[in-house]
Symmetry: C2
Subunit: 263 residues, 2 copies
Amino acid sequence: MTAESFRALHRAGQPLLLPNAWDYASAAALVDAGFAAVGTTSLGVAAAHGLPDGHGVTRAETLALARRLARLPCHLTVDIEAGFSDDPTDVVRLARDLAAAGAVGVNIEDGRADGTLAPAGAQCELIGEVKAQVPDLFLNARTDTHWLTGAHPSPLDEAVARARAYRSAGADGIFVPGLADDAGIRTVVSAVDAPVNVLYLPGRHTVRQLADLGVCRISCGSLLFRAAIHAAVAAARTIERGESLQGNPPGYAEIVDLIDRWA
Amino acid sequence: MTAESFRALHRAGQPLLLPNAWDYASAAALVDAGFAAVGTTSLGVAAAHGLPDGHGVTRAETLALARRLARLPCHLTVDIEAGFSDDPTDVVRLARDLAAAGAVGVNIEDGRADGTLAPAGAQCELIGEVKAQVPDLFLNARTDTHWLTGAHPSPLDEAVARARAYRSAGADGIFVPGLADDAGIRTVVSAVDAPVNVLYLPGRHTVRQLADLGVCRISCGSLLFRAAIHAAVAAARTIERGESLQGNPPGYAEIVDLIDRWA
């Protein structure tokens, strides 16, 4: 598993559906289900530890998780928020540690905890520095023009400008979460010569529809994590009400086997 | 929240349904759903870290989790397997740390990783030592007579003998996971003057039926964790197939609010 074999999974017409894990068990279960690549969700990792997302406070937890996931036979790409530091040297060090652990990709976002976007120039310098120092990571540059509504008066124009700038700075892929209208997706796909990644939004598009729009990667973001938390609470409430549980979750022994498999 | 107020939740006729969490988010969501007490699941905690359950290797992870959960407005009881050590001094130290963190209860089991039961005498000494040194923890003594099938030729007789011995040694409650037949449950309930705890087994009994059998506590064990992992994988596969997701998981902002609420 290398950044190059990971890059090859970003295919126009047959995009990479990337499920996002938040701990070892969720990642192992996704690999066991046949997914060739797994991402992490910064919301899930933060929430699992009782910490806020997007505030740069989960560097240690994220690196520890990546080291645990490295033994799984999948391509691993890690959501490192904005890099967990304002100092590019720290971000480079983290990227190097992740690559050494076995990750083949990272997501770096330009959204800030205060709801603003990092200046494009500074973000390009960060991207360039990480790619120069750690070339063997697929760097997916995320722009939060659409995610942080209100961060910019013309989100699509800004997304296109940033996508081009980040690509020129060395980004391997461009991620625009929240970009969800067909015309907007087509515009970004046409504007940049790199795989474009969007967030899967339930009820909006199918994987097939996004493939037809030229998207090369579809991330689940925090959706699987949220579905998991929802299912746990729903099961507890169902038991409380004396009703029958739906679905057929794995048994104790199946989870034991899952953890043993790649121990 | 004290061991005494936790003890009061163990009511004959109106048992405590204890949902078990494996990380901060799952625990917070259960508290948010109205559960007054939350346990931990050693399988879930271990699997979340890619480690085996029941092998005594998750002491640090369990204590770290308990410290995170302490800020939640609920009674917290912690599954510490067999204590993560053969040395009662270590188990006492852990119990003290958990009580200091805010936990009001612990589960200590007599099952061993090799599928045998710890000698009853040694287990009684351990229980007595923990209760003597850390009296402010509700000590739920788990016997694995039924869980480790084959560990004993007469599981019910052994469960009764151990329940009485553990109770005499100071245990506040008795947990017999896998005990699932009505006569057996009634036998253990009659035999010991302490709250009896069983594991919820889907399709076997309802909470009401277990209440009528005299059970005072019903644990979900790893079931909610397994339901969560199942839901995450099922959601990813549903998306992959181009089908609509079932259920209505919380949105990103709801998870952010959940983590902020007790920050």
